[in-house]
Symmetry: C2
Subunit: 503 residues, 2 copies
């Protein structure tokens, strides 16, 4: 690289990230368009464009010019602002990862994932694991091999856990899930001995346009800035940033026979969007924009959805609005009935539809199986039987077929091995955040009056504004002024069940 | 350039265009998103991304590698297929254009246009031409200078007319508009002496969702493939291809008090979309995809909107559907009333709302003024007064202010000097196409039964499939087996007025 000044290099660093943000914007929007408004036979065009744009972005991120720039800046760390040091660190991390993988293997893996996604869809449709099995074997083999390229001395599953949630490993997970299991399984048993709560309030006929009105009301109540956050309808709800946290989109799915499905999707995705859009404005168009990890992200989405959204106080606040929107359906109902219905605990087969209490058990099954396959203790072809066995053991349910069992999630076909634990961790982070927040904010009072300002201000001050500036572990320490402790989460679940089921 | 084979070079040619199509897709979609669903305060993010992506696309299109490739292929023209020769020609044309303009002047011009767009909006809002005048002076100066860079011996206005419609110049325009004016002005005078037709059928209360149903019915009737053509709502209707004619979007705008506005927008934009999506599939992802010029494009959109859509036969076909959708509003009405209402001729102030007969007079005013300013005969600051004078002379209307006069269109603030004539030309092409089509297709019978297949088949065979393979002049000659003659258009307008007004 030609000799340049630190100032010039710093300028180039921001310029590089601005470019990457533009590609992120383009690719994110093409994906979003495909899920929302694109005509149905246009997938081929999107695939063609995405493949070209991602190749361009890859070239940009790994070009000699980029590598030289980042290494130059890395050599002058002490001359950089803290956030710039972190940018260089994150950008170099991706490059180092790529540099250690032979290009032909990387390309072959991308092709494998495209094929696996297609086969997984078909296998799920026909509930036929055998069809998907050979591809999943290749995926496990590849992620094991890639982990070894990165760090031959590290356990490969530890490597990937740490990739998805910086600082995580099997030991932490074992301890975390062990504690959870030892308390949640008996808790669930106690709940099952009580009469099930009445959730009939959620069912009926709830016209889509009224539910949409509710969505916007919830978004405004939560303090989302509708000038920067859009809402659309998709098959599966999601949140996406388009290049910058200043252009954020959430989606939901309306079921006219059950209004709670969309209501809690909106609050969940709204939580993600609050975190993203809460990044300090000077992080826009940088890699630090919009949140640090899946775990912290889920801590926010599940915080709003569950810890706040399923509280008695929030149910009391939202009930009059429901009466206004659905006067007939809410006739003779009460806020207390709503509170019980949204906190029903009931073992089930599908993770994404699980309630708060059983949710982490679904995650545990996946963690346990991934761990064993990664270590070679379990063969991929043995997964369906083991899956069914663990569901019986943890949740007490019989899995009727692979569609409702081992084939239900898209993560494995996408190569995301080690990703699931962050879902459960996020929930647990959130419970401890809430306890901390309550030291200075009267949370219940805020929820009863629908005043989210103090709640958001706390999250912004402690979490959102930093984006990806701090690693998840560092951030947790700063927020909690101490170590992460799953006890808060377990206590929260126990208290909730006691209250709802009168244990 | 390293020595490569023709085959390799040809492969690279297609690859280059695929890349350009991906950038077109991304940028088109960002624009489309901004007009349809983006949250209101996200324009800054779109501007940032568009600026970066267009710079990347510019670099791709003008890099030494690209220039070398195209010059290499240009040297072996005889070894290329006809369509490949045309691709090289079109791609080189853009490069040659850029090569002749000093980079700093080009950049300054882009910045001028961004500023001019902003100032024009404000000036229009406050009806204050003086605010916009200095910027428009700079724009005229620049386009004059840029034309001289391209060809110092050519009249600058001729240069730009030819840019927007290959083959066009002042002489052709003067002759064309001269003929039009000499027949349309007296025609309009005769019409004005007759009692105005009753257009009350269009006004009332037409719920948006019913109008949307009509939109989809029209799109299907016209033969648009809804798997590849989407519909959305925007302030101003438009059509856009997203990287390929296989992913096409049209938009409309609903006025609940007047259903005809959206109905004819859908048919107009649907005509553009039929032309685009009618390109042969092997033109997808190339510069030949989706139509050759503005003039030919307008010939198709206005063909469907006016020549077909405002015919007595089509009115008879669509009227029962209107009765089904708007039973109350259509009570006691007839297809004949609809026919008269959609063919009302009435001088007005705004081009985009003008009827078929007066439309070209609006265009003529703009042509006349552009021509005089470009030659230096008229100063930019004299435009408002001259505009108002010509509107009185051609259309007989008094312009109350610049908002409804010289500031109404966005073209000049966008630097599009020489663009307007193609609108009028397109209408005239269409009339001659219709006459030719009638030699082999029973057009009225098709329209009466809503059977657009034979009409579309004719257009596909003669026009659509070729995309930009032939220059507009060549295409016209092929379609018409003879020269373009505005007589067809004028006769059509006269016949229409005779029929509607009983002249």
């Amino acid at each position: 690289m030609n000799i340049i000044t630190i100032k010039e290099a710093r300028d180039r660093l921001y310029k590089l990230q601005r470019k990457q943000a533009a590609y992120d914007h383009a690719m994110g929007l093409i994906y979003y368009d495909g899920s929302t408004t694109a005509p149905k036979d246009t997938a081929e065009n999107r695939a063609a464009s995405l493949s070209i744009l991602s190749e361009e972005m890859y070239k940009l991120g790994t070009s000699k010019e980029t590598v030289d720039l980042l290494e130059f800046l890395d050599g002058f760390k002490d001359k950089l602002a803290q956030k710039e040091q972190r940018m260089v660190e994150l950008l170099l991390k991706d490059i180092r990862f790529m540099q250690k993988i032979p290009m032909d293997e990387y390309v072959a893996y991308q092709e494998l994932l495209v094929k696996a996604d297609d086969v997984w869809h078909k296998a799920k449709e026909s509930s036929d694991f055998a069809m998907f099995c050979p591809l999943l074997e290749q995926i496990f083999d590849t992620v094991r091999r890639f982990a070894a390229y990165q760090d031959p001395d590290k356990d490969p599953y530890d490597y990937w856990l740490n990739e998805y949630e910086d600082g995580l490993n099997k030991q932490i997970c074992d301890e975390f899930f062990g504690k959870l299991r030892s308390r949640i399984v008996p808790l669930l048993k106690k709940v099952s001995e009580k009469p099930q709560v009445d959730d009939s309030i959620r069912f009926g006929n709830f016209p889509e346009e009224k539910q949409e009105e509710l969505s916007y009301y919830l978004m405004e109540t939560m303090g989302l800035d509708l000038g920067h956050v859009g809402l659309a309808t998709t098959e599966h709800p999601f949140t996406t940033s388009l290049g910058s946290h200043l252009d954020e989109r959430i989606t939901t799915h309306y079921h006219e026979d059950d209004f709670l499905s969309s209501m809690y999707s909106v609050i969940h995705e709204g939580g993600h969007a609050l975190y993203d859009t809460g990044s300090a404005d000077d992080l826009a168009y940088t890699v630090l924009d919009g949140g640090v990890s899946m775990g912290i992200h889920e801590s926010q989405s599940r915080f709003y959805e569950n810890l706040l959204g399923r509280s008695r106080a929030f149910c009391a606040f939202i009930f009059p609005k429901l009466c206004e929107l659905f006067p007939k359906q809410m006739e003779g109902r009460s806020a207390e009935e709503l509170y019980k219905a949204v906190n029903q605990a009931e073992p089930s087969l599908i993770r994404t539809e699980a309630d708060e209490v059983t949710y982490s058990l679904h995650v545990m099954v996946r963690y346990e199986l991934e761990k064993r396959v990664m270590s070679g203790e379990l063969a991929v072809k043995e997964l369906p039987a083991e899956w069914n066995k663990l569901y019986k053991e943890y949740l007490g349910v019989d899995v009727p077929d692979d569609k409702h069992g081992v084939l239900q999630d898209s993560h494995w076909s996408g190569g995301a091995i080690g990703y699931f634990p962050s879902y459960a961790l996020g929930s647990a982070y959130g419970a401890q955040f809430l306890s901390k927040m309550k030291e200075s904010v009267d949370v219940d009072k805020c929820l009863e009056t629908g005043d989210f300002k103090p709640l958001n201000a706390w999250n912004r001050e402690h979490i959102w504004q930093y984006g990806a500036l701090y690693k998840p572990g560092e951030l947790l320490e700063r927020v909690l002024s101490g170590a992460f402790d799953p006890e808060y989460y377990i206590n929260y679940l126990e208290d909730k069940c006691k209250d709802v089921y009168g244990l």
